[in-house]
């Protein structure tokens, strides 16, 4: 399983890449592996405002439904339009083709509590 070093991770298994004040968000390799074949993705609309802990999307595999949660407050500025037609990208390329949304952060300190890669790795091993 791959967990890139430059990313931050949540306890709900989202990954977050912060560039300036925009966070790109997806689900981790661990999450996609646990879900199995992903067959459906629901995304928010550009312009939606999210608060920490809001469910902003849904990922469904053949067997399971899983919410995806906002790790920070902000406004959705971009969504991965190709995902609903190619949900398998979440399995095949969770950190690149499988990105879900870009969130313009209202306060980047929201992300200070997220795990770095070593903390996440430890978290996953305990899970």
């Amino acid at each position: 399983m791959v967990f890139p070093e430059e990313l931050k991770y949540t306890e709900e298994h989202e990954w977050v890449l912060v560039e300036d004040d925009v966070a790109t968000i997806g689900v981790s390799d661990f999450a996609q592996d646990q879900l199995g074949d992903i067959v459906f993705v629901e995304l928010p609309e550009v312009g939606d405002t999210l608060e920490v802990g809001d469910s902003f999307g849904v990922v469904e595999s053949v067997k399971a439904v899983s919410d995806v949660y906002a790790p920070a407050n902000g406004e959705v500025v971009e969504v991965n339009e190709s995902l609903p037609d190619e949900p398998e990208a979440l399995n095949n390329s969770p950190y690149e083709d499988g990105w879900m949304i870009k969130l313009k952060l209202s306060d980047s300190t929201d992300l200070d509590s997220l795990m770095d890669v070593s903390a996440y790795q430890e978290f996953v091993e305990k899970d």
Binding site: G36, D37, V39, F40, V58, E60, S61, V62, K63, V65, P84
Partner: protein, 362 residues
């Protein structure tokens, strides 16, 4: 937790294991969709050793089974299998099962794993309360391993390991023979809608039979298949699953199983209740729905007609073959027979779903 004789094999193959009604079972190996496709295009091997087997034998075995089950046992000949059900007096279902006739006085019932103790107790109790005395019930569940070999090339694979003439075994027939030198009941049955076999052998031989089949099958595309794909495969063919389409509160005649409910064969447990329900007009019926938009219907989701809740989804999934959301739903009878588009409530939205003729995948 209960384990089948193949438990170690599943773990060696890297299967994801789950608690399935008290059994430690593989839900997937390579992935549900890949496994599903293997069964539709080549072949798959399932460990279904968790299924229960109950033997009914003796001079009154026939009379007792005719009374205990819904289908007509009189229509069976030696070497034939019948899909049937056990019902309560209320008409609700105790379990669905396949009934094997070895001889006019010897039968084997293959029942759902999680129901096998309940079924056996039910049959024992029924026997005690009945006038039948001259028969024996034996729970042989622990004595059998069972493997399902399913898919268009299943027969080619099996032919490499047996001298039994497989083309002589028609659908829903069985023969006793040897597979890879192992004494096996070779039954041309399954739960996938593909050609294939269910193979019963002694528990101690389960691993050898699995390994022999995998070895000769590999070059023909044989793959191990978990419970995840078992469910999507059966749902595409609209086969009922106990606890979903049929339960203690659902009569087989409500669940499109009138064809195994022979109300004219004479008395059987649940018949009076079903005759009464039929006379009054059935209030609910099982229908098939296909989402016309992207989404995955799931068990328990509500079904709406003209904005009114009229029933619920009993089983739903994303069909790997059709790439569409498909569902079986129990709805008010008036709606079941109607025309037009219904809606399935998925989270906060209502998604349009078309009534579909069965099976979903022909």
């Amino acid at each position: 937790m209960n384990k089948t004789p193949l438990n170690q094999i599943h773990r060696q193959l890297g299967a994801r294991m789950v608690d399935f009604g008290g059994w430690d079972m593989p839900v997937q190996y390579s992935g549900v969709i890949a496994e599903h496709k293997a069964v539709r295009t080549t072949a798959g091997l399932f460990d279904v050793s968790h299924m229960g087997e109950i033997e009914v034998s003796g001079p009154q075995a026939f009379d007792f089974l005719q009374y205990a089950t819904t289908n007509d046992v009189a229509s069976l000949t030696d070497g034939q299998v019948q899909y049937t059900a056990l019902c309560y007096e209320t008409g609700g279902v105790v379990d669905d099962l396949t009934l094997y006739r070895f001889a006019s006085d010897r039968y084997l019932l293959c029942v759902n794993a999680s129901n096998s103790d309940k079924d056996f107790a039910w049959l024992e109790d029924l026997l005690k309360k009945s006038n039948y005395t001259d028969l024996t019930l034996i729970n042989r569940s622990a004595e059998y391993a069972q493997l399902a070999l399913q898919g268009p090339v299943a027969a080619n694979i099996l032919a490499k390991l047996t001298s039994t003439n497989l083309s002589a075994i028609k659908f829903y027939r069985f023969e006793e023979g040897e597979v890879a030198g192992i004494k096996t009941i070779i039954s041309r049955t399954g739960y996938t809608g593909e050609d294939g076999f269910e193979l019963y052998c002694a528990t101690a031989d389960g691993v050898s039979l699995w390994q022999a089949l995998m070895k000769v099958g590999e070059s023909l595309g044989l793959q191990p298949i978990g419970l995840g794909a078992r469910d999507t495969l059966r749902l595409e063919k609209a086969y009922a699953l106990y606890g979903h389409e049929i339960t203690a509160d659902i009569m087989p005649i409500e669940a499109r199983l009138a064809w195994i409910t022979k109300l004219k064969k004479g008395d059987f447990v649940g018949r009076d209740a079903m005759l009464k329900a039929k006379e009054a007009g059935l209030s609910r019926k099982l229908i098939a729905l296909t989402l016309t938009v992207s989404g995955v219907p799931r068990e328990g989701y509500p079904v709406f007609s003209d904005g009114r809740e009229v029933g619920y989804v009993t089983s739903g999934t994303m069909s790997p073959s059709l790439k569409k959301g498909i569902a079986l739903a129990l709805v008010e009878a008036s709606v079941a027979d109607g025309e037009g588009v219904l809606e399935i409530g998925i989270r906060k939205r209502r998604m349009p779903a078309e009534r579909t003729s069965l099976p979903f995948v022909k």
